[in-house]
């Protein structure tokens, strides 16, 4: 960590942590004094963000095994079908279109080595 005269690796981070603890305590105290509490999530508003995060996690989990095109298509279908519930015909056509466009932009135009899964070769 070092001393003030010879600051080392941990010098700034240690100081910052102490400052952070002090600020956080001050914030907690000031909140506590006001004493008003609003519910963090009103009714079921947490559901849609949670579904979004879960979908993102699943996407990262399977993209290397299933490949980019299939995972992306599934992601779009599930997102629009489960989170947004839009009309199935629109959902399928938009999903197919977006997957194709994203593949063209990243895979072909920008030459990102996206994992291809079953579509290899």
């Amino acid at each position: 960590m070092g001393s003030f005269r010879h600051p080392g690796v941990g010098f700034l981070p240690f100081g910052l942590c102490i400052v952070l603890i002090l600020f956080s305590l001050a914030l907690i105290v000031s909140r506590w004094k006001k004493g008003t509490s609003v519910p963090f999530w009103s009714r079921r508003t947490w559901l849609r963000p949670l579904l979004g995060v879960v979908l993102l996690g699943l996407y990262a989990l399977v993209i290397e095994t299933l490949g980019f095109p299939l995972t992306t298509l599934a992601f779009l279908l599930v997102w629009m079908g489960v989170i947004e519930r839009i009309h199935w015909l629109k959902m399928i056509s938009v999903s197919l279109g977006v997957t194709l466009v994203l593949y063209l932009i990243f895979g072909v135009f920008l030459e990102v080595p996206v994992p291809m899964g079953f579509f290899k070769g």
Binding site: R5, L27, G57, A60, L76, M80, I83, E84
Partner: protein, 507 residues
């Protein structure tokens, strides 16, 4: 004082760079993208530039990629007003106050003049800002060349403090975000000794937290998750927009508002922590104060549109000054451009103009061109952009998430980064839930390494004596200014508390 002739020569060569076909098309692309994200609520310029950071690896030339990103930033200032006026939802943060009078004008059937005066005001103010940038940046950079570590420490500290105090609603929350940002910036190899910090043994973290991953998570994913809670539906006041060109009467009423807005925006834009959002708020307040009919504000006063919309554009141009001359970004969107320059191997700072004149003058010249493009895009073609508001968020949201995922993946070709981005996304969402602004965090993250290196180098020079920050004239005056600024803030806060208490006891 560097000579005026040199500046004209620089500008001239800059136009030579900006007017090549590639750079013109990327300036147009940036202006188009900026207009689009400005119009679409729930996607701001910071998030968009973050989204495009991985692309800047592919573009190759630093001039071209910065031209595009700058275009997105000032283009969004044009687009934002459209949504504010027609839908009463700010298209992006700097157009919040435009909702107040712009929407009222639209309700009274004066959407056309409101949009027109916003676009013309934006163009005039944007150009004023760039003229200021052209002639103030070179002498400022020359002056900053003599800065050593103590000066840099004082300057970054001042910048960070002003950014938190000016930007946020709560000073304490802003400071917490700054400290968090500094800590995140410390992950990885220590800049001076090369030792490893905060990696929990994870090899992937040794290079530090990647800026793109952090920015995309906090701004991209975080914003999407937050918007998922609410139904964002845009209802247009009117489908037909006519009489875009303001009448002589409108013009007479708004011309001084545009002039005042341009100047206010410029001076606030230069300040670290200033920028488009605050300048539009200040301009609205001033217009209301100087107006002979303040009672018209809130009921469709054209000055309430002209002033703020001008101010945010000249602030957007002016905020390039601290970035390109001192290497210090003043707001989140500029921090993204800072990162893009670093990705391209260009070090923003006092040596930028002399070492990479092509980057500086090319970008500055392209901004003149870009503003002219935006005037055309936003006046006759505004009807086309309005149709964009019909694209439902249900389709937009998953597409943006996918863009973030593939963008982050493309940097190092690892799924690990998608996970990290997801984690920052959740954090960004929770920040928004508890009213913590992610802006100061990203600024602190970018400035952290500069601040730490300057602090430790300065203390090494002075053999540990902190007096080094006060003895040298420039560092000393900066620190003095910082202390004065803090003192004023404390007095203002105390006076407010005292007033509340006295009214409470009086009642």
């Amino acid at each position: 004082m560097s000579d005026i002739l040199g500046m004209f020569q620089g500008l001239f060569s800059g136009f030579g760079i900006a007017l090549t076909l590639t750079n013109l098309s990327f300036a147009l692309l940036g202006a188009l993208l900026g207009t689009v994200v400005g119009i679409l609520p729930g996607l701001g310029p910071s998030a968009t530039i973050a989204l495009l950071l991985p692309l800047s690896f592919k573009i190759g030339s630093p001039v071209t990629s910065i031209i595009m990103m700058a275009g997105i930033f000032y283009g969004a200032m044009y687009g934002g007003s459209t949504t504010s006026i027609l839908v009463n939802i700010p298209g992006e943060a700097a157009s919040v106050v435009t909702c107040i009078d712009g929407y009222q004008m639209a309700l009274k059937g004066r959407a056309g003049p409101a949009l027109g005066v916003a676009a013309i005001g934006s163009f005039i103010a944007g150009t004023v800002g760039i003229i200021g940038l052209t002639f103030i940046a070179p002498p400022l950079a020359e002056f900053a060349i003599q800065f050593g570590p103590p000066e840099y420490f004082a300057l970054t500290l001042l910048g960070l403090m002003m950014a938190t105090l000016l930007a946020g609603t709560s000073i304490l929350k802003g400071l917490i975000m700054v400290v968090l940002g500094l800590l995140l910036g410390a992950v990885g190899l220590d800049p001076i000794s090369g030792e490893v910090r905060f990696t929990w043994g994870l090899l992937m973290l040794q290079e530090g937290v990647d800026f793109v991953t952090l920015a995309m998570g906090l701004f991209g994913i975080g914003e999407i998750l937050y918007n998922l809670e609410r139904e964002l539906s845009a209802e247009l006041v009117t489908n037909k927009v006519s009489h875009l060109w303001p009448t002589l009467n409108d013009w007479a009423e708004s011309k001084w508002a545009i002039v005042r807005g341009s100047l206010i925006g410029f001076f606030i834009g230069i300040l670290p922590g200033g920028g488009a959002v605050i300048s539009s708020l200040v301009s609205y307040g001033i217009e209301k104060k100087v107006s002979k009919h303040p009672e018209e504000f809130g009921k469709g006063a054209i000055q309430g549109v002209a002033g703020p919309e001008s101010a945010n554009n000249s602030a957007a141009s002016a905020s390039f000054i601290p970035l390109l001359t001192l290497g210090i970004p003043g707001n989140a969107a500029i921090a993204m451009i800072f990162a893009a320059l670093l990705i391209q191997g260009v070090q923003p700072g006092p040596f930028l103009i002399s070492e990479r004149p092509d980057v500086f003058w090319g970008v500055v010249a392209s901004m003149y061109v870009g503003n002219a493009m935006l005037l055309i895009l936003n006046l006759p073609l505004v009807g086309i952009w309005v149709q964009l508001l019909r694209v439902p968020y249900a389709i937009l949201a998953p597409v943006i998430v996918l863009f973030c995922c593939i963008g982050v993946y493309s940097i190092r070709n690892t799924v690990f980064d998608i996970w990290v981005m997801g984690v920052f996304g959740v954090i960004g969402y929770l920040f928004r839930k508890v009213n913590l602004e992610p802006g100061p965090l990203i600024l602190a993250f970018v400035m952290g390494p500069i601040l730490e290196r300057a602090l430790r180098q300065a203390l090494l020079i002075s053999a540990g004596s902190p007096l080094i920050f006060f003895k040298r004239p420039i560092a000393g005056s900066l620190m003095g200014f910082l202390l004065l600024f803090l003192l004023i803030q404390i007095i203002v806060t105390l006076r407010k508390k005292w007033r509340v208490r006295s009214t409470l006891s009086g009642a």
